[in-house]
């Protein structure tokens, strides 16, 4: 049995609590980084992180790219998408193919 976590600013993530996800609200990216490292060791299979938190902790997120679990997935926050999710796909394609062809 695994759980799902959500990391982000309070405004964005509080709705996820209602549908049964474990919510960790963070004030800044340092806190988000610490939380992410902590819960990645626990039994979370998926951790959603809002993009405004993501952008400063990409180095930590990329560390988990090549391991099977957890899957760390950026989602847009309250203030809309800033394109981190799609740029991650782009980067993966570039890494695999050598050029962005998607």
């Amino acid at each position: 049995m695994y759980r799902i976590g959500v990391i982000g600013d309070k405004q964005s993530v509080k709705g996820f609590k209602a549908v049964g996800l474990d919510v960790f609200d963070c004030l800044n990216s340092d806190e988000a980084k610490k939380t992410l490292r902590k819960i990645a060791k626990e039994d979370y299979a998926i951790i959603y992180v809002t993009e405004n938190m993501c952008k400063d902790i990409m180095d930590v997120i990329n560390e988990y790219n090549s391991v099977r679990l957890p899957a760390i997935i950026p989602i847009p926050g309250m203030d809309g998408s800033i394109g981190i999710g799609s740029s991650r796909i782009k980067k993966a394609v570039e890494k695999a193919v050598g050029a962005d062809i998607i």
Binding site: M1, Y2, R3, I4, Q11, S12, K14, G15, F16, K17, A18, V19, G20, L21, A45, I46, Y48, N65, S66, R68, L69, A71, I73, I75, P76, G77, M78, G80, S81, G85, S86, R88, I89, A92, V93, K95, A96, V97, I101, I102
Partner: protein, 233 residues
């Protein structure tokens, strides 16, 4: 291309030939693996992009509902309403093997008594916008999970493709030419030795023939002397 630092002997030559054969075979198989991985990866990446765009849209919708809800209600009431969740979600993680890459498969179960009543609050103090926000959020939940599975798969496959491509290139541009070069070197060296041996033998034979001729001439001389002595006196 640098050749390997080995002794040019027949034994090394045989083992190198064997290694070259294995390397060529491995190169072919890895190349096939890379091509197949690439094919699947591109399909997945396209789908991932589609799902990502869809989720972005849907989440924006949910957030706008939330914004309206938090505008209508005071933030304390909103926090209180969402404080204790009624629905729990747990996921099972399965395994899927895509060209020897272990990819997680997510399967979620919700623990709730009644699927139609997921709202963790009474309706008296909350606004309708909150209801629709929560409803939307729980509706897009499957696509959120799908996004997670797809994105993880894409990341894992990308890493695997990169690894495979490096191996293919290492075999194609380093290992195989090195083996070929070394095999050629050993063969030339062995041939050279063979020729050296041949010439030496020929030389020795020449010398022996020369010696034999000289001996024969000497013997003849002696014989002629003897003959002269017997018959002329």
């Amino acid at each position: 291309m640098a050749r390997l630092n080995v002794n040019p002997t027949r034994m090394v030559l045989t083992s190198l030939k064997k290694r070259l054969k294995v390397a060529v075979k491995g190169h072919k198989m890895l190349k096939d693996k890379r091509d197949e991985l690439m094919k699947r990866f591109l399909e997945l990446a396209r789908e991932n992009k589609k799902v990502r765009a869809q989720v972005d849209d849907q989440l924006a919708n949910v957030y706008s509902n939330f914004v309206i809800a938090s505008a209508v209600m005071s933030s304390e009431v909103l926090d209180e309403a969402l404080m204790y969740p009624k629905q729990g979600v747990s996921i099972e993680v399965g395994k899927k093997n895509v060209m020897s890459v272990n990819v997680p498969v997510f399967d979620f179960t919700t623990t709730t008594d009644d699927a139609s009543n997921i709202y963790p609050y009474g309706f008296a103090n909350t606004s309708g916008e909150l209801d629709s926000a929560i409803k939307n959020l729980s509706e897009i939940f499957p696509s959120l999970l799908k996004l997670a599975a797809l994105e993880k798969e894409v990341q894992l496959l990308a890493a695997e493709i990169e690894k495979t491509r490096r191996r293919v290139n290492a075999l194609e541009y380093v290992m195989i030419p090195q083996f070929q070069e070394t095999i050629k070197y050993i063969q030339m060296k062995l041939d050279e030795n063979e020729r050296g041996n041949q010439t030496r033998l020929m030389k020795v034979k020449d010398m022996m023939v020369q010696e034999a001729i000289l001996e024969k001439v000497e013997n003849n001389k002696i014989a002629i002397e003897e003959y002269k002595r017997e018959h002329l006196n």
